[in-house]
Symmetry: C2
Subunit: 315 residues, 2 copies
Amino acid sequence: MNDSWENLIAGVKNRDIRAAARLITRVENRAPGWKEAMSRIYSRTGSARVIGITGSPGAGKSTLTCAMTKELISRGLTVGIIAIDPSSPFSGGALLGDRLRMKEIFETPGVFIRSMATRGMLGGLCQAARDVVRILDLFGKDIILVETVGVGQDEIEVVKTADLVMVVCMPGQGDGIQAIKAGVMEIADLYVVNKADMPGVDEAVADILAMLELSTETGKPSAPVLKTSALKNQGVKEVVTAFLDHRTDEDRRQAKAEIRAREEILSLLAQEVSGYILKQWENENRFCESVNQVLKKQKDPYAIVKEMTQRFNWS
Amino acid sequence: MNDSWENLIAGVKNRDIRAAARLITRVENRAPGWKEAMSRIYSRTGSARVIGITGSPGAGKSTLTCAMTKELISRGLTVGIIAIDPSSPFSGGALLGDRLRMKEIFETPGVFIRSMATRGMLGGLCQAARDVVRILDLFGKDIILVETVGVGQDEIEVVKTADLVMVVCMPGQGDGIQAIKAGVMEIADLYVVNKADMPGVDEAVADILAMLELSTETGKPSAPVLKTSALKNQGVKEVVTAFLDHRTDEDRRQAKAEIRAREEILSLLAQEVSGYILKQWENENRFCESVNQVLKKQKDPYAIVKEMTQRFNWS
């Protein structure tokens, strides 16, 4: 098989799973030509709906993702899953029981699953997630579920790239809800209290509603709060219906899209330019020397960056 | 009071708390001149020991931080606390009971507490944390405790800037330990199982030891595992003694310092460069235009960045 960018892209358009997996790996590794490849893909994307699923560890996000996937498939939709969570069963970081439960999903035709590392991603986690979403979109997936752990700046940035954001909580998670409040609140379109068979479910719902009420005063539209027991497949249909029916206010959608475009351009730009300067410095052996000077306290990082950028005549 | 950079720096050296708070705010806000100020501070830093404290939400990191602070003060050491956690009582994101418990620490002389937002930090959370650590170092703090939530790429990056990393777990947190395993494992120097009065404490210790054993085969030195009940002030003395006595292997310390210097230069560089180019583009109204083209799918972000960088003649 000729693995040129062109062939891989053509393969993805023909719904060839192996081509998709290879294209993703190459783009993730930032193989030379990746930007041109993504440039070509870009205009053909935008038909998939991207659902961000976030929440604190242990809330059952993966189980819920599985249950929702089955429901979506039963409605005749194709699904892509991107898991960005070290503790997710999709990433292999899970207990055996969880992994067995996922097996069914791994073997369902029409489901494409990809897990992504949260660290050391070349060019930033968020950009890599955007790229993978676009490849699955080109593949023709109707729905792309992006699962990330709910606490963490980069992870929240990833979720922001979704069209609709679902926050998953569980009963008895006072601290968890606090963390969510501080971090994910302003981006949530839908709340799900999972493990609804556990005690404290009504308190959890009340906590979220109270939180929403406070913020509604400040202009944030309220979001529905649903209950599920993903393991028992209860309430899952309702959640799927809620997000398929969800229509974002046009002004809000526009504003979101603009912010996303700005942020993407800026992050690509920062990577590109600093990569270029670094390469120049490495060619001249100046980078290693500078690091050594910092270690010996002969120079400081702030002054070195000033030097590095000086040839561009900016201050 | 003359709030020049020079005066603020002199104030911090004289242990003036208000000067420290103002200098931190200015540096966090990236007020013009901040890099020059940090450049001047840099050579005078390096005497404080920086302890990173991380772990999943609800493990009791803040309570432990408080208890350790009291113990450190009783040993005649001065302490600075930097809390980077939306759910931390230090950040105001806590339940009333927690906040009352913290009150004592807030009023203890010799303790400087600063909480930092995890999002929207200009120039990156990690760099801002490095800067605040240096200001507290200049202030003369012997020990700087940096508390962050344990899941999240940026948050892990912050903890990596510490000299010693302490991971806090609690009993019955299977998922929590999984998350830790994937993310923080390779940077942990010391494990603490807090809430040791809860059932399941021995299993939690055993889980960590099993995890450590697996990784020892791959060359990672093992880390001590201690038990505390921070709320009852049990085991805290032992933890403080353990981290004060901890001596990092010289090769490992060197390697860590080099990686930290490299990463800091690169992140400062990326910020500097993209800030500059963005400013140029905004002056020319080209940035807004480009964002609009992306929104209309006339252009894609990858191609726009290529255009933006073309004037520098790189490919």
